[in-house]
Amino acid sequence: MERKKIFLITQSLLCALVAGLLAGIALYLYFEGAAKQAGGDLFYYSFTREKAGRALLIVLPVFAVSLGLTIAGLVLGIRDENADKPVRDPHGMRDAGALREKAVHQKATSKVITLRVAVLVLAAALIVAGILNGGLEDVLAKGAAICTECIGLG
């Protein structure tokens, strides 16, 4: 096998290992904590800062090797050459006429311009209506405090 291919496959495995470790450790901590809580330990927390720190220390060496290989690969210009090759007839339906037709349709005709103006006016009207009905304050209320659901805390 060529060296380049070995490099790319090694890097793939390292990336998969980093992701797998990160996901696996989280799952382990969660299930370990859940078991302890189910056993009656009300104040046993699955995740703590200390546990997260220790878990990251396990991932760090693999991540460092992967990062090193990435930098080396970028500097040496090692990449999957196939990635840039055109995909032939990607959807099995394109022909020259159809593509040109789409281009004609896309041109800023008066119909398109009318539609743009209509949507712009509608958007402005909706924003004004939203400001008047308190929608703006609702956005602020959600954004100005941590959204615990949004970030996976709650």
Binding site: L8, A23, Y30, A129, N133, D138
Partner: protein
């Protein structure tokens, strides 16, 4: 070495610029607090979690879910209007140029590994994002919000990798937010695993999230065909060779369709010079090589205009960074309004409470079953540090209650006092309040004060009207009262502080409590 290979293109620089501008509140990463100023009432066009410590404005998708969730009370006109405005002006150019999550995905794809190319399967998968939009962004929030009055931004809660990466990691990395780790459970584990899977997929497959999952991209895709800005094809020059489509990494059927993110790679690909990136009639990027290349003076003029635009943009960024980090009035988070502190406050042995930045439980929680019992019984509290950490004496304060009475902390010496910080937009907060009511009914001697966050406090009274939590004392925070800064409450809710009968903090954590935990903590404080 090919130096050109390492030189970032204009699009990459614009992506970096947008990411920095969206997250101009750089000090948020240093002090662990999010930006809470009025600009948070505006959404940015791209995907950027509003709970990220750096974020200066709100996430359009999170805001949309929240608005749809609350559609039973307030029609979601504002967020729909904002999305329509962004859509008609920029379309999916937002995805290609000014979305921080798009930037992260593209950087991950730079990692040298074998790559998965587009094909029929990826094309089919690209329709999946409409399912995510319909189910997680629209159906579930509307169903639970309007039908059951339950806060459930489903995409944010169960999937969004931006929330996990920018919000959770950004927030939890700061030591001041250590107790927020206690909230992490099944929801976080699920989201963390999803983030790892999506991140890994992005390494092998170009913009996996953007192409197959992103509901925001799906929304902007509806506007793409008539958006003012985007990649346009000149039909007089196009010979229909299809090279633009076959070289594009997105699952487009033709340039400018709902999958096109207007990245502009096809402009250089087209040998006919038929493609250009336009904003109305202004050409932002046109063909510069080939038989139909734009004339030299036109290209020169465009580059000159580009340099001027960059100058203005950099000046705006410098201003934004200066404003959000040093000038903006909302940064006075730690300012404690003197009016909130009563005259009977005990002598302080250390600095003001704002200096005690870390509300913590007393010991490493994994090693202790009852984290609230480490402080020794105290009879003389005058020697204690005033603050909000466990073992501190909580500063005295006075506040008006919603029932018209006045709450003064020092009046409750001799009672266990529980102070809960909550908000109507916080699902875990609303879920745990019935437990406090239950506790108060079971143990009438406990004093429970629930303080609503200043954001959205106006609506709290209406919200509480039909809840039947009549045994609890409710107060609203405001900028003038400054209760949360005084008590050193964090940005994340819910947070609970429990005081023993002498006013000493026995528990302080940003975590939702079950009734069993609450009862245990109460009994421990009582026995203190």
């Amino acid at each position: 070495m090919d130096k050109k290979r390492f030189r970032p293109g204009t699009r990459r620089l614009v992506q970096l610029y947008a990411a920095l501008l969206y997250n101009a509140n750089l000090k948020g990463y240093i002090d662990g607090h999010i930006y809470t100023g009025n600009l948070k009432s505006v959404c940015v066009p791209g995907f950027n979690c509003y709970s990220c410590p750096g974020a200066i404005a709100s996430c359009p998708l999170g805001s949309l879910q929240n608005a749809l969730n609350a559609a039973g009370h307030t029609a979601p006109w504002y967020v729909l209007g904002i999305l329509a405005l962004f859509g008609v002006i920029l379309g999916r150019t937002i995805c290609g140029w000014i979305c921080p999550l798009g930037l992260i995905q593209e950087l991950l794809h730079k990692i040298p590994t074998p790559k998965i190319r587009k094909g029929r399967v990826t094309r089919i998968l690209s329709y999946l994002k409409y399912v995510f939009l319909a189910v997680f962004v629209i159906a579930i929030p509307v169903w639970f919000g309007v039908g059951k009055d339950v806060i459930l931004p489903a995409f944010c809660k169960f999937i969004c990798p931006a929330g996990t990466l920018e919000g959770a990691v950004g927030y939890l990395q700061h030591p001041a937010n250590s107790t927020s780790f206690f909230q992490l459970g099944a929801v976080f584990t699920n989201k963390w695993v999803i983030m790892c899977v999506i991140g890994l997929a992005c390494v092998f497959c170009y913009r996996t999230f953007c192409r197959f999952i992103c509901p925001l991209g799906a929304i902007y895709g509806f506007f793409n065909r008539f958006a003012v800005t985007g990649v346009k094809v000149n039909p007089d020059r196009c010979n229909g060779c299809g090279l633009c489509v076959s070289k594009c990494q997105m699952d487009i059927r033709h340039v400018g369709d709902h999958e096109c993110i207007s990245c502009g790679k096809c402009i250089d690909t087209c040998a006919q010079g038929a493609i250009s990136l336009k904003c109305g009639k202004i050409t932002l990027k046109g063909p510069e090589i080939g038989k139909n290349a734009d004339p030299e003076p036109v290209v020169r003029k465009r580059k000159q205009a580009g340099r001027i635009a960059w100058g203005i943009a950099i000046a705006a960024l410098v201003f934004a960074v200066a404003w959000f980090n040093f000038i903006e009035p909302a940064i006075s988070k730690a300012d404690v309004p003197a009016a909130a502190v009563t005259e009977t406050q005990p002598p302080e042995t250390t600095s003001a409470p704002e200096a005690t930045a870390v509300p913590e439980t007393p010991a490493a929680p994994e090693e202790t079953a009852e984290p609230e019992t480490t402080t020794a019984p105290v009879t003389d509290t005058s020697s204690l540090t005033v603050g909000s950490e466990v073992g501190n004496l909580l500063p005295d304060f006075t506040t008006d209650l919603l029932n018209g009475e006045t709450f003064r902390l020092s009046d409750h010496r001799g009672q266990v006092v529980i102070i809960n910080f909550w908000g109507t937009t916080c699902a875990p907060c609303v879920a745990e309040l019935p437990y406090y009511e239950q506790l108060k009914v079971a143990y009438p001697d406990v004093e429970i004060l629930a303080i609503h966050n200043r954001a959205g406090a106006k609506k709290a009274k209406d919200f509480l009207a039909d809840k039947g939590w009549d045994h609890l004392d409710f107060a609203l925070d405001s900028k003038e009262k400054g209760l949360l800064p005084l008590l050193n409450a964090a940005d994340a809710m819910p947070q609970t502080i429990i005081l023993d009968r002498q006013g000493v903090v026995t528990y302080n954590a940003q975590a939702p409590l079950t009734y069993e935990k609450l009862e245990t903590l109460y009994k421990n404080a009582l026995a203190h």
